[in-house]
Every structure is written in structure tokens, then in C-alpha cells.
Amino acid sequence: MSKLEFVNGSKIFKKNGQETVALEKTNLSIEEGKFVSIIGPSGCGKSTLFNMIAGLLQPTTGQILLDGKNIVGKSGQVGYMLQKDLLLPWRTIVSNIILGMELRGVPKKEAEGRALPLMKKYGLGGFEYHYPNELSGGMRQRAALLRTLLYDQDVILLDEPFGALDAQTRLMMQTWLLQIWGDFKKTVLFVTHDIDEAIYLSDEIYVLSPRPGRLKEIVPVHLPRPRDENTLSSDEFVHLKQKLLGMLKEDQERLQKVE
């Protein structure tokens, strides 16, 4: 059975009397423990899809099944890291990270007891009691990701978590994410604009295409794990990259013709 399913899901927005199809009828089926990336140009409905899975947005049609149970309109069932880091500026890093546990009523001491060792392990040691604006972009992203992980859901959605980082920090964060994914055994859905990143991290890549947003193709990635820098230059990697680039280019040409 799949961990997470999106059955005949779609989303239409209506504004000023005009309907925008953010996502056409789509079917997703994600297996437990997989790392799945979603790529596609801006505006193809990636964030919309995540908002629906996270229960923040009602789909126009369809069902979202988590472990076979319908979770449409229910928030708090999956971990969700939005496109920005969204750390609360008036809280220290550690109290930002324990926010999810705090909301669930876990005592502060206990929550910090869980968070502090993880912060050390994942490169935030020494910054526990700093405020978010004293941290670099990469560290803020780590903190936001740890907050999502410590919310303790099996499925986590990451919406372009590394979009704002420079190439080097990005590579470091990707390796870090793979390490975490291995440690925590989560099912991950990961949105990115970066084809390299998608291939490097994923078991499967869902390619979306815009206007209207829809699922174009599912591309499996069979690169062996653990992956490292050498993976980036392997034949399979290069081949996949070309294939994906081709698909995105098709869309671009199609859009240009329409305009």
C-alpha cells in the first residue's frame, strides 16, 4: 500500500470571475520511505499541491490518502516546510525548533532535551540560544528543517528548501538532507527548480507542466546510494539530466507558442 496517495486531485482558483486551473486532475502514489522530487516551471502548481496535502487548502476535487485514510482539509498530518524558513524572529533557535512539540503539549524541558542533541549533530551547535537574524541562510534552513522533522510525522513536504542558497552551501545541505533522511526514515516530497538537485536526491522525479498544471511524467532514478560528488558525473546522471532538460524545454517552447 502507498504511504501517501492523491486520487483525482485538482485545484481551480477563481479570481475576478476568471478561473485559473492551478492543478488538473492528478494522481500521485508515494511509497513509504521514498524520496520523491517534484520539478516544473514556476506556476505549475507545486506549492498548491503541497498546501492541499498539508490540509491548508481544500482541493477542488479528489481525495488525499495518508495510510489509506482521507486527510482532506486536515492540517497537522504531515510535516511541511514552506518556501520560506519562517522562523519566529522573537524566539531563539531552539525554541523555534521545538515549536511543533510545544503545540502538541510536550513539556518544554523534554522537548529541548530532544532538540539540543540533534542541533549539535546537525550543525547548529553553539547557536541554540541565538535569534534567527543572527544566523546564516543555510543555518536558518537547517533550523526550519529540524523543526519540521521534530514534528514527528512520517511524511514531510519540503518546498524548495534550498532555493535561496549559493551553490556550495546547497551541495552541503543536500548531503546533509540525505544523511537526515537516512537517519529518520521519512517519506519525503521535495520541490525544486534545480534538475541536478532532483536527480541527486531522489528515488523518483515527478515532472509537472504548467498552464494548466498537470503531471507530465514520472521519472525513476536508479542511481546507487549512498550518493556523493562522483554521482554527479556518472553516465546515468548525465543521461537523466538530458532527458529532464528536454522535457522542460518542450514546455517552454509550447508556452512561447501560446504567447
Binding site: N51, A54, G55, L56, S75, G76, G79, Y80, L82, K84, L86, L88, P89, W90, R91, T92, L99, G100, L103, R104, Y131, P132, N133, E134, R147, Y151
Partner: protein, 290 residues
Amino acid sequence: MRGETENVVVQKHATFEKNKAIQKEDPFIEDEELKERRTNRLSVLGRVMVGVLLVVAWELFTRIGILDSYYWSSPTTIVQTGITSITEGTLIQDLFYTSGATVLGFILGTFIGSLLGLSFWWSDLYSNIAEPYIVAFNAIPKLALAPVLVIMFGIGFSSKVVLAFLMTVIVTAVAAHSGVKSVDKDLEKMLFSLGAKRKQVFSKVVVPSAMPWIVSSLKINIALALAGTIVGEFISSRYGIGRMILYAGQIMDTDLVWLGVVVLSMLSILMYLGTVWLEKLLLRGQVTQK
């Protein structure tokens, strides 16, 4: 031979000097605190000097007759009047009366105003219905209502508190409402995604987000509350600095009027410092915000 050694020694000495020079060079460290302390010390000094200068000039000008001491009184006379008012009059009681009404009105106004402004987060419908009334109420010159309020609440302490309260409550509500409107929707979304209930979003995101807005209204509020109290005392009162000033004016005792103004100014400064302290308390940990 000797010359050579000397030469070497000189050279050695030269490099030694150079090294010393390099070592001696003070490393420049951005020390915000030190810089701040330095400017702070200077500005305190400057402030005190300007104040002393003004008082001395006042005294001097009234003595030599450039300023008419009948209208302008003079610092020494004011101090003397003050001492007699404390020992023989009711200055201290008046001071407690005025400051008590002001602080009470300020606290009530700020607290209830904040609650009112924050409550608008809960429902857009409620907020939309209430908004024009808030604007209208804000536009009413509350001081013009003072005579009615004194009739309504009597000439005692409560009518002053009510005036101070009315002066502050809407200002705070408007500030808190602006704070609520400025809350980052994505922060709210993030909290909901962590399974938060509305109540939790309110206490963890909305209140702290709006806090700087509320706090920014405090300083204006304390001055408004004081103005409210004094006008209340002007209208009709048995105690208070405002009443003292009014009475002194009626008997043309300008020294006493001046005493009242000076005491009110000092009270105002003291309460201002109080709000500065309150600001720090309320924004603990928030100083770092944006």
C-alpha cells in the same frame, strides 16, 4: 668588523621595531556596545549641560530684568514656592492624585485597547463592521466631552481616570489593529501546518507580531493620559496639580502656576522613563526583530 656587527644590530633593531609596530597596531574590532556606550556618555553630558544652561539663563534674565519676573517667575522662586507648598500646602497629595489617575487610566486604556485591537484578528466580518466606528471614535475630540464626563462620573477621582482612559484606549486599539493586519500570513500557515489551533496561532504568532505596534503607542499614550487627567481637573476637582494651576491662575499667583507646570513636566518625564522601561520589558527578546 665592528662596523659590520653594528650594522647587523641596527638592521635587527629595525626589523624588531617594525614587528613591534605591527604588533602594536590596535586590531579594530567592531564593538557596537563600546561605541554605543561612548555616544551615550557624551549625549548624557550634553543633555545635562543644555539643561543647566537653560535654567541659569532663565534665572539670570529674570534677575536683570530682560524677562519680567511677574510673568516668568524664576527658578529660585519656583523652588521656594515648591518647598512651602510641600510643607504648608498639599503639593504631595495633589501629585499623587494626578499621577494616580493618569497611570490608572493609562494602564486600563492600554490593556483594554490592546485586547480590542487584537480581537479583530478573530473574525474579518467583525473587524470590518467595527472598523468605521473605531475611526469615528478616534476622530472625536475626547477632551471636548470632558464636561459631560464630569457630570456623568462626578467631580471625584473616577472622572479623571475615565478621561485618561478614553484618551488612550482607541489609540492603542488602532495600533494593535495595525499590528494584527501586518501579521505574516505565511507564519500563520506554518503554525497551522504544525497542527496548531486558532487559539495557539493567536498566542504564538499574532500577539508577539503585534507587540511592537502596541508598544510604539505607549509613549504617546502616557502623555495623552496626563493631558486627559489635567483637563478633568481643570473642569472641576478638589485635588490635583491641574486644579492647583487653575486656582493659582485665578488668584494671579504666577509663581504657583509655574510650580505646577514644572511639577507636571517632571511627572511627565518620570512617566516617560517608566514607559521606556515597560517597552524593554514587553519587547524582551524582540529587540532582534527586523
